[in-house]
Amino acid sequence: MDKAVDLSRTLADAPRNCWVALDREETKVVGSGKDPEMAIANARAQGISDPVLIWSPETWTPVIG
């Protein structure tokens, strides 16, 4: 990705505590599911064959690694 990706609004409104599938440009949610396969299947049903997955937590709180 050669430009900054802004997922702040996209993910703020996305389903929580699940996998979220994004289109390849990571501009919109194209699927979600309790496991990766379900999120991918939902994305493919939307015509997106190679989505990028991200875990959407229950709440967006600071994460200390």
């Binding site: 990705m1 802004d6 997922l7 993910l11 396969e37 967006w60 690694g65």
Partner: protein, 148 residues
């Protein structure tokens, strides 16, 4: 390879940083595979120099066909002193970008609040990463270490 940080939601405003509306996070798109198997789908993970190991959610490992609980187990903890979780370790291939792949020993955890994180063993020992959090947007440069 240069990758800009990703803007993620902050949830409720953080008390000491009430003017901040978003959080910039160093995410990297990767995929995993088992030996001699094509890579899985792509997903976003956190670069975490504070972690001694690479960790992924257990359901990612199961989707590769791993029997998670069959691997060596190590309890791990975060900044909280009274909480640990079992991590089960397996050898997988980590794919970064279109050209780079390294074999790593990664932990798989049930309750991880992100898809995965890349730590020192397996990732930072194989890649040089230069972070610039002062620019807007922040970015990092990533290069695989060549073995001579």
């Amino acid at each position: 390879m240069r990758r800009f940080y990703t803007r993620l939601p902050m949830g409720e405003p953080w008390a000491p940083f009430k003017n901040d509306q978003v959080e910039w996070v160093p995410l990297l798109t990767v995929s995993l595979s088992l030996k001699n198997v094509p890579p899985s789908y792509s997903f976003e993970v956190l670069l975490d120099t504070g972690s001694p190991i690479c960790l992924f959610r257990a359901d990612l490992g199961r989707s590769l066909g791993l029997e998670i609980e069959s691997g060596p187990v190590q309890r791990i903890g975060g900044f909280a002193t009274n909480s640990t979780e079992p991590a089960y370790f397996h050898t997988v291939n980590l794919h970064v970008g279109t050209n780079w792949a390294v074999e790593i020993k990664a932990g798989f955890v049930e309750n991880l609040s992100m898809a995965g994180l890349l730590g020192r063993r397996g990732f930072f020992e194989n890649f040089v990463v230069r972070f610039d959090h002062s620019s807007s947007p922040p970015y990092f440069d990533l290069e695989k270490i060549s073995l001579i």
